[in-house]
């Protein structure tokens, strides 16, 4: 695996990766553990917001260090997830309200 990444990029990237992984894990843990749908709908947002942001930042950092020029291609994924994940959770909320309250 990538051992030739310079240290100035490897250290923050490793921290960001670990943080992103923990956020995604806590989000999924909440999805499993919370006891009603209305509480559960909030949990995966954790992985979709800060988890994704951390991992994408780490990816940009490592890709820029390897290519020796700024690579910001991943910013498109960040923008896309930021715009679409609220839309699907909003639609799900509407569906739950519609189906359970009539």
């Amino acid at each position: 695996m990538s051992a030739d990444v310079p240290l100035w990029a490897a250290l923050p990237a490793a921290a960001l990766l670990a943080g992103g992984g923990l956020f995604a894990l806590v989000g999924a843990f909440g999805l499993l553990r919370l006891d009603s749908f209305y509480a559960r709908i909030h949990a995966p947002t954790l992985g979709a917001s800060l988890g994704t942001a951390c991992v994408l930042a780490a990816s940009m950092l490592v890709a820029s260090a390897l290519a020796e020029r700024p690579v910001i291609h991943e910013a498109m994924i960040a923008l896309f997830i930021l715009l679409t994940s609220p839309v699907s959770s909003l639609l799900l909320m509407r569906a739950a309200l519609f189906r359970w309250r009539g």
Partner: protein, 93 residues
């Protein structure tokens, strides 16, 4: 000293795999259809994140494109399912 990044990648991949397992359990357990769609949503986000972590691990840019495709298709899928739950039709006449 520079082995820290591969270890961070392994740690992140383990986290995402565990998160996908949790989402799978919620997918099977339900109890409502909304819960299952929510679990699928979490599942594709974590799959996309593990692709990005693999891309960091192998130092390859191709994984970012895979992640972009997963993000696009996953959103279309969960939006279509949520719309189906909402109206009973995906594309209305």
């Amino acid at each position: 000293m520079n082995a820290i990044l591969p270890w961070a990648v392994r740690f992140a991949l383990a986290c995402f795999a565990l998160a996908m397992l949790f989402a799978f359990l919620r997918l099977f357990r339900g109890p409502t259809a909304e819960d299952r769609v929510l679990a699928l949503d979490a599942l594709y986000i974590n799959g996309m994140l593990s692709m990005l972590a693999l891309g960091i691990g192998f130092g390859s840019a191709a994984y970012a494109d895979i992640a972009l495709v997963i993000a696009l298709l996953g959103f279309v899928g969960s939006a279509a399912m949520a719309k189906f739950l909402l109206r009973g039709e995906v594309i209305e006449p």
